[in-house]
């Protein structure tokens, strides 16, 4: 039971990562694929933050008698990664709008068919 609780977080993250991975490879809609990538990405964020957690710890804002603190370094890395993540999502969305303009569809299969018929 204790091993289960110790590794439960990691297993959930792997599950989320694989859900995202499945959406990316199995579903044809481009917006859905980007959402899948975002879920994949969030699982990595959670893994980092989870590794920085210290039992009975508190947020790394120094106060009298606050110790132990959780590890601040993963927080910094993931904080910036989230904002970069939304920027790259925006670029992906702009590309999808352009694909819609060019092909009239955002389904992977229809795009392949149009490419093949050229």
């Amino acid at each position: 039971m204790s091993t289960f609780l110790e590794l439960y977080n990691y297993w959930i993250f792997i599950f989320l990562m694989m859900t995202g991975f499945y959406i990316v490879i199995a579903q044809g809609n481009l917006i859905k694929k980007v959402i899948g990538l975002n879920i994949f990405q969030t699982s990595v964020f959670l893994l980092y933050i989870s590794m920085g957690k210290v039992a009975n710890g508190t947020a790394p804002i120094l106060i009298e008698g606050g110790a132990p603190y959780s590890n601040p370094l993963p927080h910094v890395l993931i904080l910036t990664a989230i904002v970069v993540g939304v920027s790259t999502t925006a670029v992906a969305m702009a590309l999808i709008v352009r694909i819609q303009e060019a092909y009239g569809t955002i389904e992977e299969q229809d795009i392949h068919e149009q490419d093949a018929s050229l």
């Binding site: 590794l7 990562m17 039992a55 710890g57 927080h75 910094v76 590309l95 999808i96 709008v97």
Partner: protein
């Protein structure tokens, strides 16, 4: 208790992820993804990452939901049922998953204080940052001072993404008049009056988050996103054209550039004062005061760049006309 909350929230996250994968209605999928982000933010709080939770709540549940929604407004709302067999992807995913689970068996347990990740670098930040940088919020110290190079890179990435979106969408047809596909919502009295009360408060809160980031959770990234969110709310309710009266494209571009240059400029000034690039100690006689000035300016640069980029992303997307 903390463990119990953690277990339940993570289980909810897994359920939402499955629902996201199964739904065919893209609108519902995106709203679910917003809920997913909000749950993630709650988990970050329970894992002591308050700064991260802040960012995730503002970005994941706010801005990225709006961006994806404006994309489905321009494309299609429902997904076509796939004709592929699901067998092969499922097999790949299960094999990869099992391999990764096998890998976790060697990992240090969750929240183990003796885990290798807690032994290196982190103790230095936690013990010495108060004397070297002088700020209670260690996350801000690391973000804006110890790892300032990284943060500069991230700001440039965000800026580049904003420019790319503008370039990609500049050749797409734009709405011809104010009666394009995005009408304002002024005829909803509740939305109109609630937003009139909320927007000033959101802006005030953004300023608080920006300038109080040294002492509590917050900083330039979060403040920038919250600041942009206030104007996005204004834009959705009062119409894009009204928002554009203040935030024209060239003004937003100038603001984004100003933010990035302010950040790099602080680094150049420290070079001229005889220090290393972004070593704020040399800014004044007193090292700690120098750190304070440096972090203040750098965070301000981040805030301006992020706010301008996020706002221009939203405005650019909402001005594109739906193709037939």
């Amino acid at each position: 208790m903390e463990q119990l909350i953690n277990v339940i929230l993570l289980a909810m996250l897994a359920i939402v992820a499955i629902a996201t994968a199964k739904l065919k209605d893209l609108f519902a999928t995106i709203i679910l993804f917003g809920i997913y982000s909000l749950l993630t933010a709650a988990i970050f709080v329970s894992l002591d990452a308050v700064d991260v939770a802040f960012t995730e709540a503002a970005v994941g549940a706010g801005i990225s939901t709006i961006l994806i929604l404006s994309t489905i407004a321009l494309t299609a709302r429902t997904e076509k049922p796939s004709t592929h067999s699901v067998f092969l992807p499922l097999l790949v995913v299960i094999v990869t998953g099992v391999t990764l689970v096998y890998g976790t068996l060697d990992m240090p347990g969750f929240a183990d204080p003796d885990a290798p990740v807690q032994q290196h670098v982190a103790p230095r930040y936690l013990n010495d940052s108060i004397n070297e940088v002088g700020m209670p919020n260690v996350v801000t110290s690391v973000l804006a001072s110890y790892r300032s190079y990284d943060t500069m890179g991230e700001v440039v990435v965000i800026f580049t993404a904003g420019i790319s979106v503008m370039l990609l969408l500049s050749s797409v047809k734009h709405r011809e008049d104010e009666l394009g596909n995005l009408k304002d919502l002024k005829h909803h009295p509740i939305l109109l009056y609630v937003s009139q009360i909320m927007i000033p408060l959101i802006l005030l809160f953004a300023l608080y988050v920006q300038f109080h980031g040294d002492f509590g959770p917050g900083g330039g990234f979060q403040a920038g996103v919250i600041f942009a969110a206030a104007f996005i709310l204004y834009g959705m309710i009062n119409g894009i054209d009204n928002t554009r009266k203040i935030f024209q494209n060239h003004i937003l571009r100038w603001l984004a550039v100003t933010g990035v240059i302010l950040y790099i400029g602080v680094g150049v000034v420290t070079l001229f004062l005889g220090g290393e690039f972004l070593n704020y100690n040399v800014l004044t006689e007193d090292n700690l005061a120098g750190q304070h000035y440096g972090i203040f300016l750098v965070e301000l640069g981040v805030g301006i760049a992020v706010a301008a980029t996020m706002l221009s992303l939203f405005l650019t997307f909402s001005e594109v006309r739906r193709s037939q």
